[in-house]
Symmetry: C2
Subunit: 161 residues, 2 copies
């Protein structure tokens, strides 16, 4: 693999890391009470978007063939159901800890991935489909999830005074 | 340049094109009246975010060394100044036309760019800095602008009923 190719892969990972870092800084600047508010009238609460991002990122572990999902109990309240549909959800304090654990796990796996590994298929595409559509690789998951993160980060920013 | 490298570059361009397409669909689904509303109480109006994205993307033309900026008159009301600070701004109808023109121009230039061209420096970095920081290339502008677009797309989505 060429130096240029390694550079481009690193650019994509840096873009992901940058958005994760910005979102973490925002979340850290918000109180638990602020995160219990809707980001706009009639819209998702901060805690829902926060839990949603953790669940989506946690599921990247199996999707990228790195490990089992760490917190499958988040799927119900933050992926399968809309905000306010599940009566009992984790506290903001619990989610703050889970955010750190999930992103630390992803970072360790990402740092140990060989550049070639990023071009392997992810686990939601069949061998047959991947043979025809080689862009459905692990690196594309990072691109897609970075956009998804940026989308909700823009919404969470409305919790700032 | 390897097939793999061309594939990765295309994935980044596809990611940009996908977010542009999603945002265009959203804007097309909103009335002029909806775009004159704030996306949330006390936040930017839809027209401001729309003009802001057009101005930022228009400036990619000189930044990527493709052409002059097409609508420098957007910089004042949508980049230099906050929303509602400039009394007379273009109409939504004018912005809808300018959005199309800017993205058509970018698409034509992007399609004719050789893959190697994406790794050249952009115009906001010096030769000296670029020699030490080769990630400050044109492709990185696409990554950054796609995240910026996704951020505001998430906010514009609040204009939907």
């Amino acid at each position: 693999m060429s130096d240029q190719q390694v550079l481009i892969i690193q650019m994509i990972l840096d873009s992901w890391n940058q958005q994760i870092s910005k979102t973490a800084n925002l979340i850290n600047s918000l109180t638990d009470e602020q995160l219990m508010q809707g980001v706009a009238p009639g819209r998702n609460r901060g805690i829902y978007l926060f839990g949603h991002l953790i669940a989506v990122h946690d599921r990247m572990l199996p999707l990228l063939n790195l490990s089992e999902q760490l917190y499958p109990e988040l799927n119900g309240p933050f992926l399968d159901k809309p905000d306010r549909a599940v009566a009992t959800i984790p506290t903001v304090a619990t989610l703050r800890a889970q955010w750190k654990t999930v992103h630390a796990a992803l970072a360790i796996h990402f740092e140990s991935m060989r550049p070639e590994g990023w071009l392997l298929k992810h686990n939601a595409v069949s061998e047959e489909a991947f043979a025809k559509e080689p862009h459905r690789n692990r690196l594309n998951v990072i691109l897609n999830r970075t956009n998804h993160l940026s989308y909700h980060y823009g919404q969470l920013a409305f919790l700032k005074k």
